[in-house]
């Protein structure tokens, strides 16, 4: 029962802060609202017996990625970010149609699926989310994806440096 209460609070917080992310005008406020969603999801990860993923969610997402967003927003300043107003009228109608159609499909799938145990208590399982289990999976079965992520990070770092360098030269730097 306690698990359900925690789930209810975390789910409500995640939905409310997600709505704030897509409706708040100022980019700074929207980014801070995103932290609410990320922390709520970390709580849900703990409920799902994934403490390591929850820790990484807080450290990498709420720590590093959101701070990167805040740095860029502070660097650009509020001046040119004055929101021109979100898309209104005819364009927004198509967005709503797409979202409502996709949501209806999702509800139908969830209501008619025959996946066994989908609506019942989750079954008892062993240790799947501890750092030890994750590390063993990474170094045993998933060593190739593990190395591929390091390559992706390297490419992203090189790309970011190239982008920044070109921009500086444009301003008259070296």
């Amino acid at each position: 029962m306690g698990e359900q209460i925690v789930f209810g609070f975390a789910a409500a917080a995640a939905i409310v802060s997600a709505i704030m992310v897509i409706t708040l005008k100022g980019p700074f406020r929207a980014t801070v609202a995103l932290i609410g969603t990320l922390l709520s999801l970390a709580v849900l990860f703990i409920l799902l017996m994934a403490p390591f993923v929850a820790a990484i969610q807080v450290i990498v997402y709420a720590g590093a990625i959101v701070v990167l967003f805040l740095f860029v927003i502070a660097y650009l300043g509020e001046r040119p970010l004055a929101e021109v107003g979100d898309r209104l009228g005819r364009y927004a109608v198509f967005a709503w149609i797409a979202v409502i159609a996709l949501g209806a499909q999702g509800v139908i799938v969830l209501a008619t699926t025959k996946l066994p145990g989908f609506r019942d208590d989750p079954k008892q399982i062993g240790d799947i989310g501890s750092p030890r289990a994750i590390g063993e999976s990474f170094l045993d079965r998933f060593i190739v994806p593990f190395e591929a992520t390091s390559l992706a990070l390297l490419v992203a770092a090189v790309g970011a440096v190239l982008l920044a360098k070109r921009a500086v030269r444009h301003e008259g730097g070296r």
Binding site: L41, I73, P122, G126
Partner: protein, 107 residues
């Protein structure tokens, strides 16, 4: 929809929440015009996918879904680095930060 003797949280609730977050992120991507806020909505999309992955990992009792969620986080980090680099580069060209006005490559 859910049995009466359930004490824990069944998978369907996690998947439903993940779908709701995905729809909100999708709406944000299509409605927002500021590229920074567009990237925030993309983060919502990636997080909803992560929630579904971890929920199914719990359902099947294996850690594969959590591994995939961690890889998705790395991809999100790289995407943010490149996306914010592009935003800063566009900003330095003195162009308004509005995706509807960035039409230089439009055919």
């Amino acid at each position: 929809m859910i049995g009466e003797t359930v004490n824990g949280v069944p998978l369907i609730l996690y998947i439903g929440l993940s779908g709701a977050l995905f729809l909100l992120g999708l709406l944000g991507v299509m409605i927002r015009r500021n590229p920074l806020l567009l990237l925030l909505s993309v983060e919502l999309l990636l997080n909803s996918a992560n929630l579904a992955l971890v929920a199914f990992s719990r359902y099947w009792g294996v850690s594969d879904g959590q591994i995939f969620a961690l890889v998705v986080m790395v991809v999100a980090a790289t995407e943010v680095v490149i996306g914010l680099g592009l935003v800063v580069a566009v900003f330095r060209q003195r162009i308004a930060l509005d995706v509807d006005q960035m039409t230089s490559l439009k055919g």
